[in-house]
Assembly symmetry: C2
DNA sequence: TCACACCAATATGTGCAGACATCAAAACTC
DNA sequence: GAGTTTTGATGTCTGCACATATTGGTGTGA
């Protein structure tokens, strides 16, 4: 679905087409339908109790995500995981829901670690004025809420803080990661990975990032953001300890 | 399409469904069909001279990319650009082909600048042994080809070098950027943005990255990779000078 | 007269069923 | 073993019924 799968999910949940995508997508990503497995459209009609058009439209979407390919006279074949589009919101959601959860969280965290400092640097150079000042306000409010131990408010501000940094970069690919970052932050709190009070240093780094962006100091913004990321990774990494890494083949040209 | 749109493009170019996606996708991304523009499925049938099933399957795919939404009793509405999935290979390809080329190149370059050093660091920690040694070999061959001014060989090796670094990270999201990086590198050569001989320093940085990865020295690998990226950005940035930045709105929760 | 609530008409997407076209795997012929 | 035919699955087209949101009209009360 469009960036923001959760919203779509509610508005489209009545559509048979969408349900077919979910059904097949989750089963493929979870590994229940292994690589190379071949299905017949007719068989899917029976299984899902829907008509051919619904199955076909769903298969077409999955095809565009790289999850399956259709071959005449053969059927619908499940593609290997390295062919899936790892940036697609639906694929990410399905991986988070099943086996691949740990590996997916690690991938997202590493991506975020790479991107957020870069986004902070760009925001310092490009962000509109209103965004800069809101960022400073939020960072101060975060510090206050953090010290007070008001974790609900803290989470809300934290989410908005990181969203603003990503948005303020003026890079739409960075901004597109807002959803995943939001999920990470909420997940961390929901799963009880946050301490009673956030570390004072972390609070200070947020203020630093905001101030540096506000001052247009790209280097400082990047550095402070890196510090936050290091801390975040340290908090989260136990969640994916021991997950095997997958090395996608580099085909020779 | 699956990661690797170019391949799909050739294998599927006969399909009406695929042509419909391309037709609509390019026109939406290029701005010829502006945000909010409403189309009727029936009208698209006439325009493309195809049947409903083809149109519907195409619209479903575009919907999953966030390019359009379908509303009962209204039609098919074009969504604003900030709803498009900026990581989708098709969207990227369409943007590169039209108006948004400059902005798209900048986005990709910034993403690459953020990701490649991180990938190099991870590769130093995780890459399999064979990959490490191949990387060293390639970096040395690159230096040789570069000094000899054999730019064809250099480009080929350069592509494989960066692909191996991304793949060696063991992060499938990083690895998925191989296609875009390849396109950037080829484009830079094809469009005559490369000097007669690559700079000696750049050649040396590549060797350094490979050696550091081979030695498992993550910090050094990251630093050397950053140097390459700074150089690369400096070479390419004139290509998108003056492109306006788009700040995607952060919706309040 | 105006404002509002309600209801019916209607256009459009959604889903279904069946037909024929196309193409590649598999079986068959020589 | 090479070439040909058969076969079976996807690809495409079409007609139809249903669900639903917009639209406009209708009625009621202020």
């Amino acid at each position: 679905m469009a960036p923001g799968g959760a919203i779509m999910l509610t508005t489209m949940s009545t559509s048979l087409h969408f349900r077919a995508i979910e059904h097949l997508g989750t089963r493929i990503v979870s590994g229940k339908l292994p690589t190379g497995h071949v299905m017949l459209a007719e068989h899917l009609e029976d299984e899902l109790k829907v008509s051919r058009s619904v199955v076909r439209e769903a298969v077409r979407v999955l095809q565009s995500l790289g999850l399956v390919e259709t071959i005449k006279r053969v059927g619908i074949r499940v593609l290997p995981a390295h062919r899936w589009n790892p940036f697609d919101p639906m694929v990410i959601r399905w991986r988070l829901a099943g086996e691949g959860r740990g590996a997916q969280l690690r991938s997202l965290a590493e991506l975020r670690f790479a991107v957020e400092p870069a986004a902070a640097e760009l925001a310092a150079e490009n962000a509109p004025g209103t965004l800069r000042s809101e960022l400073v306000e939020i960072s101060l409010a975060m510090r206050e809420a953090g010290r007070a131990g008001d974790m609900a408010t803290f989470l809300e501000l934290d989410i908005r803080f990181h969203a603003l940094v990503l948005s303020g970069s003026g890079n739409e690919m960075f901004a597109n990661l807002i959803g995943q970052v939001t999920e990470t932050l909420t997940g961390r709190t929901v799963h009880g990975l946050m301490p009673e009070h956030p570390k004072e240093a972390a609070l200070q780094w947020h203020v630093e990032v905001a101030q540096a962006i506000s001052d247009g100091d790209g280097d400082k913004a990047r550095e402070a953001s890196s510090s936050i990321m290091r801390e975040t990774i340290a908090d989260l990494s136990p969640g994916w300890a021991g997950q095997p890494r997958v090395f996608v083949p580099v085909e020779r040209r």
